[in-house]
């Protein structure tokens, strides 16, 4: 499993989206499956909009979860993004 590039822009792949904010529980919907999202995983997926780089997502979550070790937060996020990529839920776009 390779690690996502820090300066790439993760974006939900075609056919993948969050359910509405008014719906509980929040889930990531994708072809023929759905993934339930808890606090941190929802924070991550909400930022996979093609506008945040991997690095920016890491920095923002390190701020939100400031009590956790920053390296641990980074490691968890990279692992989660790679998992979503392997589910084919994310594209990683490179822009200049």
């Amino acid at each position: 499993m390779t690690t996502p590039e820090p300066d790439s822009f993760p974006r939900l792949a075609p056919g993948c989206r969050l359910n509405e904010e008014s719906q509980q529980p929040r889930v990531l919907l994708m072809p023929e499956r759905a993934l339930r999202l808890n606090g941190p995983s929802l924070e991550i997926v909400e930022r996979c909009d093609g506008w945040h780089t991997v690095q920016q997502i890491v920095a923002e979550l390190q701020r939100i979860y400031s009590k956790a070790k920053p390296e641990k937060v980074e490691q968890d996020i990279l692992g989660y993004l790679a998992l979503l990529r392997d589910h084919r839920a994310l594209d990683f776009e490179t822009q200049t």
């Binding site: 792949a13 056919g15 889930v27 919907l29 072809p31």
Partner: protein, 368 residues
């Protein structure tokens, strides 16, 4: 049995049995619903809202061919309006770019396109219709729009030899997801079973090929396939368990635990026109009949796997053993496993090459 269970997660909306294709392994029942019995769009809209209220997240519009309904657009809009993820399970016929644009604008999330093979002539033979070229066009149109695309290859004895070509076609189209689905032996496939079951050797080779493709495409194309259950050691967890995760509504409004359940004698399905989906899900005899573990015979009842595969498939138990509450005969622990072994012995004694002569397929017709 715990009374009412959690809600279903997926609704299979079988909106019509009409179809331009006549596939020899169609999963529709041998007795199909006629057009004038189809639920109107208004009733479907209510069903979709009730489904969302029950906790359903996703709806699969299927058939027959769902595109055969002129009001499909209204149904997709109603699904999204109810907060559901909307998938279209289709042959791609009849579809043009204008209608696809309308479906995307209505909120269609995902389109699953079926393929009968990679070679035009034989694909058309299995479909009983000249459909293959149109499917290639549809795949291209979908790729140029921002919705999910799954390619679904239905595989069996007569087209497993084309598996490498199917993989090459998949790689060219590059969908997000590709299913290589062995035919399941219900409905029309049961009638054509001897012509469709692969040999053990064919199967082994195909599984190895698919494992390699899955590895090669990781992160690009999600590959899904399963061992056809006649060859498996344990049965499949059919529908994720009877009345546990999935609810199907047939064209005429009958709510069913699975699409084949009407082969089981004495089953009575309540109609969504007469009762709410919640009442049907929680209280109807059909959904409660094989829910939980009370109905299970031995060896299921004391089996460690009973919460994994739920004793397998009730419809298959009836089709093979003549008894819906029997342990699924495909299970290696089933008292009636010898039925499946006898079928496999026959299939594996005839070489698949010989089967490529002209075959007398039983094609599914179109309901009036």
């Amino acid at each position: 049995m715990s009374a009412a269970t959690s809600g279903p997660l997926a609704l299979v909306a079988e909106i019509t049995h009409r179809c331009p294709l006549h596939c020899v392994y169609c999963s529709n029942p041998l007795e199909m619903a006629k057009r004038d019995r189809e639920l109107p769009a208004g009733a479907w809209s209510r069903v979709l809202r009730e489904a969302a209220g029950l906790g359903v997240l996703q709806v699969d519009f299927t058939g027959g061919e769902p595109l055969a309904r002129p009001d499909l657009l209204e149904l997709v809009r109603a699904a999204r309006g109810a907060g559901l993820y909307a998938s279209l399970i289709t042959s791609g016929i009849p579809l043009d770019e204008k209608r696809l644009d309308e479906l995307v604008a209505a909120g269609l999330d995902h389109l699953q396109l079926s393929f009968q093979g990679a070679r035009e002539a034989s694909a058309n033979e299995f479909a009983g219709s000249a459909a293959h070229a149109q499917k290639l066009r549809v795949a291209d149109w979908v790729k140029r729009r921002r919705i999910g695309l799954t390619l679904n290859f239905v595989i069996h004895r007569q087209n497993l030899g084309q598996l490498d070509e199917m993989l090459a076609l998949t790689e060219t189209i590059a969908p997000g997801r590709a299913e290589f689905a062995h035919v399941q032996y219900y409905g029309w496939a049961f009638a054509n079973r001897e012509r469709l079951l692969p040999t053990r050797e064919q199967l082994g080779r195909s599984l190895e090929t698919l494992r390699r493709a899955e590895e090669r495409w990781r992160g690009r194309i999600r590959v899904e396939y399963v061992v056809p259950d006649y060859y498996a050691k344990y049965p499949k967890a059919c529908m994720g368990g009877w009345g546990r995760k999935v609810l199907l509504v047939a064209p005429g409004g009958e709510a069913m635990p699975c699409h084949a359940a009407n082969v089981i004698p004495g089953m009575k399905f309540e109609n969504v026109a007469a009762r709410s989906l919640r009442e049907i899900w929680e209280q109807s005899d059909a959904f409660r009949k094989f829910r939980g573990e009370q109905w299970m015979p031995e060896p299921c009842r004391s089996c460690d796997r009973r919460a994994l595969d739920f004793g397998g498939c009730r419809c298959q138990a009836f089709l093979l053993a003549g008894e819906a509450a029997a342990t699924d005969p495909v299970c290696s622990l089933a008292p009636r496993r010898s039925i499946v072994d006898a079928i496999l012995a026959e299939v594996n004694s005839a070489p698949p090459a010989a089967a490529r002569q002209k075959i007398d397929w039983i094609y599914r017709p179109n309901p009036a």
